[in-house]
Symmetry: C2
Subunit: 424 residues, 2 copies
């Protein structure tokens, strides 16, 4: 008998009929001989409606109260789901994050899970019950206040709970049937990826693929927990996220590139004319860290010998831009940089693939494809299994399609054609 943790997102439980359908799916998993624990998000637009109510009473609601408010969303969906399962003749119990033992720090709105002590969940499972757990929420260790985990929080709840329970798999249900080689809305010939490594899934998530959130994959990797990303609208296999997707016994040969991700949610700031001295870059990024801004790509060129000055560019979430610019202006005289440039009309396109480690020429093929498509590259950043470029925002679609085609991800045959080049 396997222990399966299933996570259903807001669109899977958007209304009563959706909830009844999900209930049937859960019962089918139970009937197939599994123990089942379910993590559920708030129904459809509930969170937005609650945020709207909050804005009506206060322009800047305290984080503690906002968390108290928002967590009512999962409370509604989980109770309804438990009722729908009971109506199918199976016993179900719903639990808040606090009841499920999801212990977090006290950072309201984006709390981090410190520990999961799911004794009540285990008791319910041992009693043959289906446990329904509120995603996205926990209780703070210090003050016992209700917290929320921020974006992608329900996925993180599911994986953390699955790890704490020693589950065999964490199934993440969504409205598509897995992770694709590119966004199918941009590349119509994009293919579903049957198996992918944690590292690749993390790079995809970090580079804008919306299916899985970075924190949830990080958590799964730490505990070696398999994630199965599936559609709640079909029963076909989705994408398995595992530590070694191409180990013996799997039929699929490792591709060079697993997928092409893109992200339009960032902006670019360039700090112009930074004196090329020890500690200047550190001062800049310490200032940004103190303002709680997450930096993504950073590029610094060699300084011009004539001036002894260099330019530092970085990308960041567009919503954090004003805070960052304000913070940087405050240290302009201290650091003695010349000026700030700001551009929010950018997009990031990333190639992700563990296979690029052993294949030279990926960069050359990628850049060649972009050049042939007339796309200008503004910034470049690489990791061991990823190459990202920043391009103009209106060139993102063209760049994604060109890269997807260049690495033959369109075709059924998973083998990249790599043209010469100096390797990387």
């Amino acid at each position: 008998m396997a222990l399966v943790v299933q996570k259903y997102g807001g669109s899977s439980v958007a209304d009563a009929s959706c909830i009844k359908r999900v209930a049937q799916r859960i019962v089918a998993t139970k009937k197939a001989g599994n123990d089942v624990v379910v993590v559920v998000s708030a129904m459809g637009d509930t969170t937005d409606e609650l945020l709207d109510l909050a804005r009506q009473v206060s322009p800047l609601p305290p984080g503690r109260e906002l968390d108290m408010l928002l967590t009512s969303g999962e409370r509604i969906s989980m109770a309804l789901l438990a009722m729908a399962i009971a109506n199918l003749g199976h016993e179900a119990r719903s639990f808040t994050g606090s009841q499920a033992g999801v212990i977090t720090d006290s950072t309201h709105g984006k709390a981090r899970i410190i520990d999961v002590t799911p004794s009540r969940i285990r008791e319910a499972v041992d009693a043959g019950q289906i446990a329904i757990v509120a995603g996205f929420q926990g209780v703070s260790q210090d003050s016992k206040d209700i917290t929320t985990l921020g974006r992608g929080g329900s996925d993180t709840t599911a994986v953390a709970l699955a790890a704490a329970l020693g589950a065999d798999v964490c199934e993440i249900y969504t409205d598509v049937d897995g992770i694709y080689t590119a966004d199918p809305r941009i590349v119509r010939s994009a293919r579903q990826i049957p198996r992918i490594s944690y590292d690749e899934a993390m790079e995809m998530a970090a580079c804008g693929a919306k299916i899985l959130h970075l924190r949830c994959v990080e958590y799964a990797r730490r505990f070696g927990l398999p994630i199965h990303v599936r559609s709640s609208f079909s029963t076909r296999e989705g994408t398995w996220v595992v530590s070694d997707p191409y180990s013996e016994g799997t039929e699929v040969e490792q591709p060079i590139i697993s997928g092409v991700a893109h992200d339009r949610s960032e902006a670019k700031i360039t700090v112009v004319g930074v004196p090329d001295k020890v500690g200047e870059a550190a001062a800049i990024f310490r200032t940004l860290a103190d303002a709680e801004i997450n930096i993504d790509m950073i590029v610094q060129n060699v300084s011009a010998a004539a001036t002894g000055r260099t330019d530092i560019s970085f990308t960041l979430p567009v919503n954090d831009s004003q805070t960052a610019l304000t913070a940087l202006k405050k240290i302009q005289s201290q650091v003695a940089f010349e000026s700030l440039l700001y551009d929010d009309q950018i997009g990031k396109v990333s190639l992700v693939g563990a296979g690029m480690r052993s294949h030279p020429g990926v960069t050359a093929t990628f850049f060649g494809a972009l050049a042939d498509a007339g796309v200008n590259i503004e910034m470049i950043s690489t990791s061991e299994i990823r190459i990202s470029v920043v391009v103009g925002q209106n060139e993102v679609d063209t760049a994604v399609a060109a890269a997807h085609r260049a690495f033959d991800l369109d075709s059924d045959q998973v083998e990249a054609v790599v043209y010469g080049g100096t390797g990387r």
Copy 2:
């Protein structure tokens, strides 16, 4: 510095603008030098909307899950109210029933409060914060499951919390400015009652007056806690419910009759031809108790000597009628009664007043007034400070008005004119 517990019902927090108005009122109480703890119900129609959702997924939802669902209602209103107060520059913290230490038994849907351990509320108050507590909800002592207190639950939460905190007063805010001598929709000249005893308020509540619930007054009486029933739309004094409203120092002379209550929510069942033997009535009411039916009035006449049989009539909530009739039919052969009569076109009219203890002739005046108004009396029941009659449902308004007039409750002068009679 006084500690004031205030309770606001669903209509007082129906939307964002209502919540902001209530927040101002709370802040004004705080600014006047009081410590303030607030108990709040769910917004307007929230509970009905949640019940509707529940019905869409299950015809008979489990009580535990229904409680989990419904308690999201207060979670929303209390968080919004805390935000609105914060927006006025005062620190407010919201707490669930569980966080506020409202410990109940495990009877989902109508749990009883076993204990209140409000250490977190006291900490908040001691820190100068305004504590906002979810009404209507608690946590069960045994299973740590979320429970609801049933009808009037928020009032009970407020009084129980006020008692546990040793508050100086529990203010119950509603949409009228206190308890009236009769329902002003029926008797336009009905007057607000400035002070009333716990006993009278309990009889009024038990007899259909909707303002205060029986359980909440019971609780207040047990702890000697003053209740102040007020309008959330005005600042004038409402009705004070206290142990001795006519003690020295109060200017108001004790009236004979405090008010006339009515109730259209009951039905009448008559068990016809019950053998007049020891234990037959007990068998009937044991059966009804096992079916968890609350009986109100019971009338049994002396048995007819010729037959050795008697009729037993009782009233009960109209919603419980089918259950009661089914249960009684099952014991018809055992008890050997002849038949069952059922009437749901009844209404109950009650005179309540501690003063009737020392004034003879109240019954005669009451019955005389009903006779003059052409109202036929079907059943009579009395307590030390109450006389209730059952009349035809379409005669309730006439009976209430006639009684109100007969005891001069219409006029400003609070003195009843009692005509002769044998006294009671």
